[in-house]
Amino acid sequence: MVETHARDAADRTAATAPGPQLPLRARRSRLSTAMRPKEPISRPLALALTSGCFLLVLALWSIVSYGELVDDLFLPTPSATADRLYQLFANEGFAGDVWSSTRRILIAFALSAVVAVPLGIAIGSFRAVQAFIEPLVAAVRFMPATAFIPLFIIWFGIDETEKVAVICMGVFFPLTLLVADVSANVQKNLLSIAYTLGASNRQVFTRVLLPACWPGVIDNLRIAMGWAWTYLIVAELVSAETGIGHSILNAGRYMDSETVIAGILTIGALGLVSDALFRLLHRRLFPYAKGRR
């Protein structure tokens, strides 16, 4: 994610300034280089900055909580949260909650993707399909999944189906539009060439358009994963006996803010893991696509 070059940027600029005036010049250009848009920085510096940011957040949190600037009823200390996190996993079967949330996400995500990807590809590829369905999808995209919960209870009941439906509702429509963009951006020449090589419409679709779309699709699935977590919490708000969202909400009810924060951090961590997995998948599936982030 962070592009770096092995040598320090400041060193490199300094190298252009020969002679005795180097110290002063080097100092000036060090600053000026850091301020230069798109100038790469060294990998160690990048790592230091990234950790620095997380440490800074931790430090702020510590000051506010240990320093009792905020009641620990509302913001527990880092150590209390860590302890709670340990307790949750070690003794309270939190792993089960994590799993049931993850399972809901995976099912909903798979269902959404299974429909959104083909539909999106069709929208981006066939003007008729686009004209037919895109405006509807664009309108529904704005309709909040949360508002459908009462209807979903009626239609799907109160078990897993309903929770999965809420996530699907939140993920499906924007994902469809993103995938439509991907397939609309496939170069027309790639298709034209296939026709001149004797491909039927069907072959152009399956053997050119689809493979050309996959890398972009995987990228957008990664982005959509973030939304899924948001809607999961909304879904678990209404009815659930398990799940991270359920734990967070239950804990909120019993003034257990350690658990609330522990749950939120768990989701953040899971998110980063899913991001990383998607990036790995991308690299594995598309060895030919280099230089993507």
């Binding site: 790639l190 034209s192 026709y195 001149t196 090589l197 004797g198 053997r207 050309a212 030919y288």
Partner: protein, 257 residues
Amino acid sequence: MGAIQIDRVTKVYNADRRDVLALDDVSLTIPDGEFGCIVGGSGCGKSTLLNVIAGLEPPTEGAALVGGRPVTGPGPDRGMVFQSYTLYPWLRVRENVEFGPSLAGTPAKERHGQSDELLAQMGLSEFADAYPSELSGGMQQRVAIVRAIANDPDVLLMDEPFGALDALTRSGAQRFLTNLWEQRRRTIAFVTHDIDEAVFLADRVYVMSPRPGRLRKEVVIDLPRSRDPEVLTTPEFADYKREILELIHETAAETRA
């Protein structure tokens, strides 16, 4: 086999409510087995003409005929090579070359034999398992040409295939193409904006003029085959080049007036 005939073709694009007359009543013939080059300034309809022959764009009026049959859509009898690299990035070089035959259902064994042979002939054997992104631009264009050839089309349509190559790579690619053509003698319609390239490659050069796109003149290049780069510095070559350049300048002047 196939001569290419363009019969009174007019092509109007409907862009943003404004109609663009891209081709205005163009007729020309590239005889069977000849190498035709189409030159002209930007926007004179060269690409449009090629697309009409390929069947990728229907003409508004008139018709294109290949081997005497009217063109109604794209097909494997007319191979195409574009300027920008259009190899399939997810396929290895060999798979790109075999793409056409595999569409037609040619058995893998037969395909491999053919692609091995072609790649070897073209000095690309060692890259058979590479992805396009691992090749230089020149090599990519060579693969694109091999891919078109592997499908054994009656005619080859090439739209500035060497436009993005540097001088050295380009002259290599030109030699590669002429060798190939001398072996196989397919009809070729080759679009370029490099006059040197046109004169060096062609049996006939078709000079077009822009706005609206019209055929200005057909120049028969009567230079002996096989040509090598030495021909570039002969006075005959210089004469052809001057003639064509003047034609183009004239058309430009007319258009501006």
